[in-house]
């Protein structure tokens, strides 16, 4: 015959102190894992944003092939639509926010967007988009003010898209990278910027250059806050005019 006290003695198992120690160990382990996990999440978010920006670039090229021009950036009040979306007399589209606008996801039919129709990156921040206003806005215009007319009148050599992407903000001005060694591109037709994990707050001179509303941008690999020009985690890509010309020729929009 079993003694009733046997069951209770078996149930005693771990004491609360033992369990507390186990939980503490598990917590330490989880804590240790969370740091690399966070870093990995960041890498995944950057990869996802890279893909989003690549999709956006393709959408811009598709829009150009269909319309013979690039869309203007959206303004903060245009609800995800290009600003302006329709061009004026002669087909000229003078963008309201050529260098400090947002990607017009509604105009381009892009996803994902926030509730107001603006394309967002993996951190749910709005993707910024700049377009060249060179050649009297020919890149964003159609008809007599558009690219086709510009090429037919003065040739491809007359086209001078003027967005600049520099390797650092050191030495840059509102119109130049401050030396050939700092130039990544001086002929970009459009620039796309994700403000990265730290969002649109400016965390240093390099990130500030991407938010200051001029046609000079900065792109380099992510750097921590201790760097010379502060933290930088923006993801910047740009549209080569040569790819734009290729697509426009293929689509019959040029020459």
């Amino acid at each position: 015959m079993r003694h009733p006290g046997d069951t209770r003695s078996r149930q005693r198992g771990f004491t609360l102190v033992e369990l507390a120690i186990v939980l503490l160990i598990v917590a330490v382990l989880i804590g240790g894992l969370m740091v690399p996990l966070s870093a990995q999440m960041d890498i995944r978010n950057r990869a996802e944003t890279d893909r989003t920006l690549a999709d956006a670039r393709e959408a811009l090229l598709g829009y150009a092939a269909a319309n013979g021009r690039l869309p203007c950036p959206a303004s903060t009040a245009s609800n995800g639509r290009a600003s302006p979306e329709s061009c004026g007399a002669g087909g000229q589209c003078v963008c309201t926010n050529p260098h400090d606008g947002l990607l017009p996801a509604v105009t381009l039919g892009l996803q994902p967007t926030d509730s107001q129709g603006y394309a967002i990156d993996a951190w749910n921040n709005r993707i910024r988009y700049a377009v060249t206003g060179a050649n009297a806005w020919a890149f964003t215009s159609s008809g007599t003010a558009g690219l086709r007319n510009a090429v037919q009148a003065a040739g491809f050599a007359s086209l001078a898209p003027d967005l600049l992407v520099c390797a650092s903000s050191t030495g840059i001005t509102a119109t130049a990278c401050g030396g050939a060694g700092n130039e990544l591109s001086t002929t970009a037709a459009a620039v796309l910027v994700s403000t990265g994990r730290n969002g649109p707050a400016s965390n240093g001179a390099d990130e500030a250059a991407n938010l200051d509303g001029n046609r000079v941008f900065v792109s380099h690999v992510a750097t921590a806050a201790g760097g010379a020009n502060g933290e930088f985690d923006d993801i910047v890509t740009w549209l080569s005019p040569n790819i734009l010309y290729n697509r426009l020729i293929t689509a019959g929009q040029l020459p």
Binding site: G155, L184, I243
Partner: protein, 424 residues
């Protein structure tokens, strides 16, 4: 139940929660920490190569006259011989030899730095006939100097078995873009000298792994597109490649050429009231491809002939519209077929009143722009340069120079043709 037992029940729940948390992490963490899969890297490589190819073709198609330079549609930038970190990295060299290999000049092309799935910059080999040449053309081989729809590419690219070809006759490569991938055995990429040596990036294959010996780091090739594995499944080469053919380039350039021709003819039509007679297709001046090295202009002028109504676009009707220099010194007018109907021609020469094109209204004049040579066609040899069948693919369009059987009846280019028809 004792007071002690009641207390312990809550502890069991906590233990269960801890076990669940540990289990969940055990499932999630390896997934989160894994490096990009092979398919992800391959996708990144393919995207980078396609992006580069797009930009190269666009750069070439948009080349234009600029003061002091012989920039011309159809040419390609020289490769970049600098390594990452060096001052010239990203820019095309000022000159290059036929078949030269270097990195993709991404800054010259206006691109962001393109990296393959293994984080390596792309490499690039260029055909001699399509390479960018500064200043006056060097006429070491006059027949190769102009770049137009007669120009053939020569670079060969084989498949991973080193036998099948990606570049059949007529589809040779004007440029080859390589993704080098990670280093294989024997490839060192540490110091500056190693980083400028293509052999440390681009691979060689040969027997016994594959039947032929091919080397992607050898100027002029022949090249191959990997990856390549030996019979045991070991990776022996990890280069991936895409090609740009002469046809790719000329398809992009043709709309520009057509635009120039239409403008020339319309301007002349307005100026004289009629379209000009063509030049004779077999006139010596119209098959001479020599260009004056000092002026980069044709040495002889392929002029109008009042006795013909089917021939080539003449080179002496640049009034009132002067076409771009690139159009003239690359002898584009000699590459195309031009015919005018009796009602619109300056000097009647025996064509029917209006030219007939199947499925289209009768035309006053028409231009047929041949595409790049197909198969083994070599239009620069004298015996073939007067043979219209070497230029145009559709049989009904090939009798304009022979005058038989129905030279004034045409068809729009068919599915197997790379010609362009434009009526006026």
């Amino acid at each position: 139940m004792s007071a002690s037992a009641r207390k312990q029940r809550g502890a069991a729940l906590l233990a269960l929660a801890a076990i669940l948390a540990a289990g969940t992490l055990a499932v999630l963490v390896p997934h989160m920490l894994e490096s990009p899969s092979a398919s992800t890297r391959t996708r990144a490589t393919s995207a980078a190569l396609a992006h580069a190819r797009d930009a190269l073709i666009g750069w070439s198609a948009a080349r234009d006259d600029e003061p002091g330079h012989n920039y011309r549609p159809g040419e390609l930038p020289c490769p970049d011989r600098s390594a990452p970190g060096e001052a010239g990295y990203g820019y095309a060299e000022g000159s290059c030899s036929p078949g030269e290999i270097g990195r993709l000049p991404w800054k010259t092309l206006g691109l962001p730095e393109l990296l393959d799935g293994d984080g390596e910059p792309l490499w690039y080999a260029i055909d001699g006939a399509f390479r960018w040449r500064w200043g006056p053309l060097v006429q070491t081989n006059p027949t190769q100097a102009p770049i137009n729809s007669d120009t053939r590419a020569t670079l060969q690219v084989y498949a991973a078995d080193a036998v099948a070809t990606h570049t059949p006759a007529g589809g040779e490569a004007a440029a080859v873009l390589f993704a080098a991938g990670g280093p294989l055995a024997g490839q060192a990429r540490g110091n500056a000298a190693e980083r400028t040596d293509a052999r440390n990036y681009l691979d060689r294959i040969g027997p016994p792994a594959v039947a032929g010996a091919l080397d992607n780091s050898h100027e002029g090739g022949p090249f191959f597109a990997g990856p390549v594995r030996d019979a045991a499944g070991n990776l022996v080469a990890n280069d991936r490649a895409v090609i740009v053919t002469a046809r790719d380039l000329m398809n992009a350039v043709a709309p520009r050429v057509e635009g120039v021709v239409v403008r020339v003819l319309k301007a002349y039509g307005v100026f004289s009231g009629r379209f000009p007679n063509p030049a004779r297709f077999d006139a010596a001046t119209c098959t001479d491809v020599a260009v004056d090295p000092s002026s980069s202009m044709p040495i002889t002028v392929c002029g109008r002939d009042p006795a013909v109504c089917r021939g080539r676009l003449p080179e002496d009707l640049w009034t009132p519209y002067m076409p771009p220099r690139w159009f003239r010194y690359n002898l584009w007018s000699q590459t195309m077929y031009y015919a005018v109907g009796e009602v619109a021609v300056e000097h009647p020469a025996g064509c029917i009143a209006k030219l007939q094109v199947a499925g289209a209204p009768p035309a006053d004049a028409l231009i047929l722009l041949p595409g790049s040579p197909l198969g083994a066609v070599m239009r620069n040899s004298p015996s073939q340069s007067t043979d219209l069948t070497q230029y145009l693919e559709d049989a009904q369009n090939q009798d304009g120079w022979s005058g038989f059987p129905a030279p004034d009846t045409y068809v729009p280019p068919g599915a197997g043709s790379n010609d362009r028809l434009r009526t006026l």
